[in-house]
Amino acid sequence: MTTTPTTSKPIQETKTGKAAAGPVRWLDERIGLATLVKTFGRKVFPDHWSFLLGEMALFSFIVLLLTGTFLTFWFVPSQGEIIYDGSYAPLRGLEMSEAYASTLDISFDVRGGLLMRQVHHWSAMLFIASITIHMLRHFFTGSYRRPREINWLIGVVIFMLAVVEGFAGYSLPDDLLSGTGLRIAEGLMRSIPIVGTYISYFVFGGEFPGDDLVPRLFIVHVLLIPGLILALITVHLILVVYHKHTHFGGPGRTEKNVVGAPFLPIYMAKAGGFLFIIFGITALMSAIFQINAVWNYGPYNPAEVTAGSQPDWYMGWLEGGLRIMPNWETTILGWTFSWNIFVPGVILFGVLLTILAIYPFAERWVTGDDREHHLADRPRNAPVRTGLGVAGITAYGLLWAAGGNDILAVWFNVSIYQITWFMRFAVFIGPIIAFIVTKRICIALQHKDSEIVLHGYETGIIVRSPDGEYTERHTPVATAEAYRLTQHERVAPVGLPPETDDNGVRSPARLPAKLRARASAFYFADAVNKPTTEELAEAKHHTDGEHPELESGREDGFLGATETGVPRRRDD
């Protein structure tokens, strides 16, 4: 360190400091600025790529607010019919809604309008994608556990709102594709038992398509839902600050602390820079990749549709459910129940949200673990949780693929009916296979970790002893790494309570307890415990006793091998 002095001048004595002293004092006397800086200025944020996912969601939301505001200056949320006379020649003279015409104006007659529209759409895709992956990171590291359950629930609600917000957004331009989406949405509403027709009439202001929906969706899209999301994000972040960030375990990184860079200056620079990077990347994408070219679809006409219609990616899995559901419809007591629509179109999303919402509490019940957790689990150390997560991803992925069954049929030149039949079974069998395979992989990785802790790395160096025996040289793992591999907790299934209490009376709550014990046994089954102190001593003794020449750190300077097998020597 040469040019940066380790002790710099106190900031109040610098030129800038002197100039700012007045305003800063003014602020401090009104909002206690100094206390805020003292409290939050050196707040620690740990570093890991997966911790950027939430930031990505936050920053793409900021980009959405900025670009969305720009779009509202020209967008006309009305389904009033006008004759288009803008600069896009192929559609000139056509009758269309003001919403569609103004979207065309933004695309062709407002300079930078197309760019902002495309940045808005790309960042919407990114917003929902990053929320989804952010949730997965929290799921797989178990960081929804106490004390973060409420923040998990807030996240689930934001996820739901984001999907609805996205759908409302791409329905606004009133082009042929978005109108088809609304046509399907209306069909879904009608499928709601008993009250479906009424819901549809109230939402659409009468018959489909009517002329009330775009103005209604507009206010939902630009005020109601963004307002809710903003409020929830605020609470979400306040809780992150209060709980302090989770971090991955390692030497010096424990349940009791959080290790990382301070807010000022590192984290502020990195996060602030990341906001610009997100905005920059979405702008570059919008320069190069066209998205939602509404002028190609034409105005909405309920009697027309284009082949290969696809919703935005995050609706794809529900679309897939609609496509592969068998055509069940029943009439009971004069009421028609359209299971073929209601189950995939309405229930499925509800099921996903319900599972997400209750999972932290279900897992707590099964593991009996109600302690605070601040260390992010390595996914392998919770094989059943990881298996369930991968099963969920598999189900989602298969449904998503089913939502493009027509595209798949064309690509792979197979019958669309065969794909549909395959998917009907695959969405049930696939997740089960994924669960079993994932769980086994996790357990294998746990075995590998124990092996490394007990016996060290395999160096790939074969040694022949004087009496001709070939053995592989193992090198002990560094203490820091061994600590990292053994930092997780031992498995602890919930057992059965005694059948009778102290007075010999049969315990009344026998069945739930049995269920819980079974669930707990399932949850922890086959999981590998990290080695105990005795096992470690035993393994060390074993190596020392039988192959003293294989201990590393020998007189030949051999210090073990890197992960890639390159030997390290003392003289390096």
């Binding site: 620690v44 010096g252 990184r253 590192i266 009697a303 559901m325």
Partner: protein
């Protein structure tokens, strides 16, 4: 690895107590003690002034380039004509996006690079505080709530409290009632009927020209609409008052759109009672899918089936519009065709079956 040497041994089932073995968390049972935070490793830029200067230059260069791109954006905004394309790209959009995106990206990368290469990178550790309140605070909170309850009489004055609850609960009703006018209530007319009436001509959905049976070739599919929704300019001049326009037209189209297909009469197996619903092998079906209402539009001439492009419900038009695959439950409704005095195809009435997606009152 065999079971014997599996580290940690086999799982222990509960030993009859609803207890957790969480002694595993105590330091004594941890096989490896915490070696503590590793020593700080200096980065190349920390020890080599040349590298440090280079990093400084890189960051400054990024910011400098970002400045130029920011100015370039303004130049492009005024200089690039709106209708110009380069390599198939909209030139203005490309220029604006590249300059704005480049500028933003370089600022972001520059700041991150500054943080990673040049800012002090010593990690610091912060102790976690207890999330729960201290016992003292809990006690104080309870005291405050007790005092609040006592001072307000919230617990004691039940009459006031419960009447307030009642009044507040009733306020939910106006909030719901107020939304009543969001839409009219469904009526049988709006739900179950379309604009088709006896004698109404089936016309081409784009040009509005009426169709003679001889206009249609074998295997051909024509998209049709009732004449009052799509008119030719001449007709419009004569019967403008009959034409439905604006939102009413869209609402009517959403139910009344039809497809006409011509098949060989011997290919068709009409359902009972519908033997005379076609004209010379021309049949007319609703175009609106009975699943969720997409307009079906993919006609497989050889199998005489139509496929809905949204969810692939498939209907056999030679067999009364029956569902042969996909999520739709009901057959495509058929419209009885006839021919008027001038030889044009007309409807012989409204659909008998329900058009479009099912709904609870369908029955």
């Amino acid at each position: 690895m065999s079971d014997e040497d599996r580290p940690g041994g086999e799982l222990e089932r509960g030993d009859g107590e609803l207890e957790r073995r969480d002694e595993g968390a105590t330091p004594a049972a941890e096989p490896i003690p915490d070696p503590g935070l590793p020593e700080h490793q200096p980065r190349p830029t920390d020890v080599d002034p040349a590298l440090e200067r280079r990093a400084e230059f890189q960051v400054a260069a990024m910011f400098g380039l970002a400045t130029l791109l920011g100015l370039g954006f303004c130049v492009a905004y005024f200089a690039v004509p709106e209708d110009k394309t380069i390599f198939g790209w909209d030139a203005l959009n490309f220029a604006l996006g590249m300059t704005l995106g480049g500028s933003l990206l370089l600022i972001g990368l520059g700041v991150v690079q500054w943080a990673k290469r040049l800012m002090d990178d010593h990690e610091i550790a912060e102790e976690r505080h207890a999330v729960a309140s201290s016992e003292a605070n809990r006690a104080a909170a309870l005291e405050i709530m007790t005092a609040g309850a006592a001072e307000s009489g919230f617990g004691r004055r039940r009459l006031i409290r419960n009447s307030l609850f009642g009044a507040l609960a009733v306020l939910g009703l106006p909030a719901v009632v107020l939304l009543r006018d969001l839409g009219p209530l469904p009526t049988d007319k709006s739900l179950r009927t379309t604009v088709w009436t006896k004698g109404m001509r089936v016309v081409n959905d784009v040009s509005g020209t009426p169709i003679r049976p001889s206009d249609m070739e074998l295997g051909q599919l024509v998209n049709g609409e009732p004449e009052i929704l799509v008119m030719t300019p001449e007709e419009e001049a004569e019967h403008a008052e009959d034409e439905i326009e604006g939102v009413d037209r869209l609402n009517a189209k959403a139910k009344a759109a039809v497809i006409l297909v011509r098949m060989r009469p011997d290919e068709i197996t009409p359902p009972e009672g519908r033997e005379d619903w076609g004209v010379d092998g021309i049949l007319c079906f609703s175009k609106i899918c009975t699943h969720v209402g997409c307009p079906i539009s993919l006609w497989e001439q050889t199998t005489r089936k139509v496929l809905c492009p949204c969810h692939q419900s498939t209907f056999d038009l030679a067999d009364g519009g029956k569902v042969t695959f996909g999520p739709a439950h009901r057959s495509l409704p058929q419209l009885q065709l006839g021919v008027d005095d001038e030889g044009y195809l007309i409807a012989m009435g409204d659909f008998e079956d329900q058009v479009g997606p099912s709904f609870p009152e369908l029955g």
